[in-house]
Symmetry: C3
């Protein structure tokens, strides 16, 4: 019986107009020719660790157990920032220790689980023979991910470490009649994704009798009544609030871009006001 | 003897700056780890079903028989538009029923063949366990395509349906001395592709004695004499007409972009005038 | 024992908004279903042979021995330019004969090695049955690369040829106290890559006692003192000089784009002035 090939995913801010991404794949396939390499995205805005943190957390749940996620958004390359591997119940993450796993670890911890084992990458046997000062994606992260896909264990890669750097991420303000969150990401359709999750909304409903359809949502100077269940429920060009595909409240415009039409951007406040 | 891995292609308007495409690949590989996933494009302009219809028709002929094409340009997601699988002699198409297969079905019918079998996707056994309102590409289309690649049959996916939605597509006007068509697509080189096919031009020549080299082509305020056989036959920066790689008449500029230089766009009229 | 799948890489100026790249992959997989296809980039600026020449030379070293590199930046398609396969110690290159291998061949020759065997592609048995005037990537280069991956030999593809077209590439001016080079490429981070290599700097140091840390680098109206070893050694927003990941001197800005902030572009002069 044949074992399915391991998957290594790539999430970077390298763009796709240079050879950098292709080179990382060459390094990986040189070490493990039968691995499947899958791009998540290479269009993280340059050095935007927060965006990478959001994206990897929205993606990794959908890959098979044991997938290795290589995430290289690395403004500190060549400095003394550490390189790490984090192994959770579900996956491996190979990345710089700069906060890139913040959303993912918060979510795991909020669900009451242990975030898993973490090692600092130190064993140069799993690096390329020559290590540059500017491209650890190629020289360290890619080969380490490839060796993991061959069965190398965390203990062989480096010493265990207890904690990782965390980004300051936007928190929610919850009072009796109001929930204040913010937009944490706009996607390429112009949907503005907030940090207000469907599971929180469900919980508030159960505990305090809130009902989102009985609430007003205020964002970017407009007011929306309750939630829609499909973009097409709103007229073309009209804004709506909807639970998006990541389980988060999104502000969208049917057939258009909420980012452009409502001028929404990361950091904008979103208020859910309760009437009842 | 080993069976070659099945191919699933992806054509979407998701862009590649979010995790959406990677997530669909994760879902597919979770169901069938040995399938080959190939991107056709993710840069269909948002919700531009016509462009997707053109692209998939220009591409699918070049993939091996039995390839599964997943096409998700889906402005009606979450509404009552149907999701379908269409099986032709050559390939499977998994997509919303919104006209995305219009060019492909017209071409099959024009060649006198039967367009194949179509089912409505209804069997939730082939969906992800949770289905969102906004991302059927991940929750329905990707898993159905993956199960097809494992050998699930159309009859297991849902009931057969007789017809699909068709887009209104540009038609040709043909008279004794004139052929009027239009530009249906500009590509990234700025070539302006028309709906006038080489096969039509051949047919007209046979039946009525037309000869394209004896015709004038009028488009965007310019006049071209006959057809060129290579871009390089025209001077650098000069426009020309040529049969492009999809077998359609294209307006191009040698070493430049006809779209920019001649300000051509989808919908512009192209007239072929006969002199003889 | 199973043989690892062969790799075919793709480097083109096709962009990813049309179906052209997907179609080439369909053709390749139709001929060899078990090959691994890896994108290097499809964002070479349209018809920019020099950029493609730089990119393939910076990438191919990192792929396993025997990898087949397909490079299609082909302004002369349909003219009498030749199509070739070049086999070096390390890899196969399938491309038009328009200078695309210039950097690669210079580097091989400068290291005292023989550039390898070259054939002109002529055997139509390895083409698609129909060959267009405008898309040899699909009709000739892709199938020839796929047949090479199945073990077809150079001799079967066409007659051996002695020489290839070379691009005029920027040369260095070296005097007793000055080294004058130029910027040959800016990457998507805005790093400005020069034609001054680390190995040349090492050699000059050995022979003439130069020391880069004792030199001034002048470019785009600014002066930099010596080399940094990491981006983070410079303050945020400040320029620096560093040996980049291709082993070439780069001008960068920590946390920003040297291309934008310093207005650097291909062809700009870079002077290294020696003081001692």
């Amino acid at each position: 019986m044949s074992i399915p090939p391991r998957i290594i995913t790539l999430t970077t801010d390298f763009g796709t107009s240079d050879a950098y991404v292709g080179v990382m794949k060459g390094v990986i396939l040189g070490i493990n020719p039968s691995v499947q390499v899958v791009d998540i995205t290479h269009a993280v805005p340059p050095q935007d660790v927060h965006e990478a943190a959001f994206l990897i957390n929205s993606a990794y749940h959908y890959f098979p157990k044991g997938t290795i996620h290589l995430i290289v958004v690395d403004p500190g390359v060549g400095s003394d920032r550490q390189a790490i591997v984090c192994q959770t119940d579900r996956a491996f993450f190979v990345c710089p220790d700069n906060g890139i796993l913040t959303y993912l670890l918060e979510e795991i911890e909020n669900s009451g689980q242990h975030p898993g084992n973490i090692v600092k990458i130190e064993n140069r046997a799993y690096y390329l023979p020559e290590v540059s000062q500017t491209f650890h994606g190629r020289d360290i992260f890619a080969p380490v991910a490839a060796y993991l896909s061959l069965g190398v264990t965390l203990a062989e890669i480096g010493p265990f470490v207890p904690n990782l750097v965390r980004l300051p991420i936007p928190t929610l303000e919850i009072s009796d009649d109001k929930l204040i969150g913010e937009i944490i990401k706009t996607d390429s359709f112009g949907n503005a994704i907030t940090n207000i999750s469907e599971s929180l909304l469900s919980r508030l409903k159960i505990v305090s009798g809130w009902n989102i359809s009985n609430c007003e949502i205020r964002v970017g100077g407009i007011r929306l009544k309750g939630l829609n269940r499909a973009y097409a429920e709103s007229a073309i060009g009209k804004p709506l609030a909807i639970i998006g595909s990541s389980g988060l409240l999104e502000i969208a415009v049917n057939g258009g871009s909420a980012e452009t039409i409502l001028r929404l951007k990361r950091g904008d406040t979103v208020v859910i006001q309760r009437f009842n």
